[in-house]
Symmetry: C2
Subunit: 148 residues, 2 copies
């Protein structure tokens, strides 16, 4: 996360650092704005999901499973490939989705190390119910950002 409300001005960056090449100050300013905006947006998204006893990560897990409708399940490792989180975090999130009844987990018969993950009917319903609000929230945020 990034928490600085008043970003460093370009002059300040120049004052602090003399080894930068020309134009770098603009890129840095863009990056700082990006981190701050992303922090605020992520916080809002997390609030959105928290009210539903979910999190952005658990939601994204459901998305990657749902968006391959021709597959009856994804292996946990495949989900991991599509996301970018550590293994223990995935373990914990999958467990909590299962506890909530949104995800169905079964061991693979050929290789008992692998876990098959599918959305339960409830999970699919829940995901699709959350999607409009999710995208609307993001869309509104971006509109505010341009405006204000």
């Amino acid at each position: 996360m990034f928490f600085l409300k008043d970003l460093p001005t370009r002059q300040m960056i120049e004052g602090y650092v003399t080894t930068l090449e020309a134009g770098d100050e603009d890129a840095i300013e863009t990056a700082l704005i990006m981190m701050r905006d992303a922090s605020v947006l992520v916080r809002r998204i997390d609030q959105y999901f928290q009210a539903e006893n979910l999190s952005q990560l658990r939601f994204l897990i459901m998305i990657v499973i749902d968006r391959e409708p021709e597959r009856p399940w994804l292996y946990q490792g495949e989900v991991a490939e599509r996301l970018d989180v550590s293994k223990p975090v995935l373990t914990r999130a999958v467990q909590s989705l299962m506890d909530a009844g949104l995800l169905t987990v079964s061991p693979d018969e050929d290789d008992k190390r692998w876990k098959r993950l599918s959305l339960s009917p409830d999970g699919t319903k829940r995901l699709h119910a959350l999607l409009p609000g999710y995208f609307q929230l993001i869309s509104d945020f971006m509109a505010d950002r341009k405006g204000g």
Copy 2:
């Protein structure tokens, strides 16, 4: 933070959500890219600071104090105003900076609730030593991002 490696395509967003106005899909895609980029950058920055037994938050606390050189100290509440974190998080970060000898803390004489925060000579030295690498890291990230 945001972890999806393959972002939803515009078609997919349209397929999921029918209530959006025209043009919203682009804004959403921009937002998803922004969150993913910011996540990656924040992770790199945290690694940079972790190697120094610091964190981005502790670093930002030092910056907001350092960038008002005409003031002999900032009150903890003033630091809180300039950042966007909860009070307990600030308490903990200030404590850890003090333990590390980078921050000098003293109570105000007029109002004993207030805490005066100043950088120690070591803190100032440390901050200025970290700044070039910090801005360079950000600058490099932005260059990579455009290129690749």
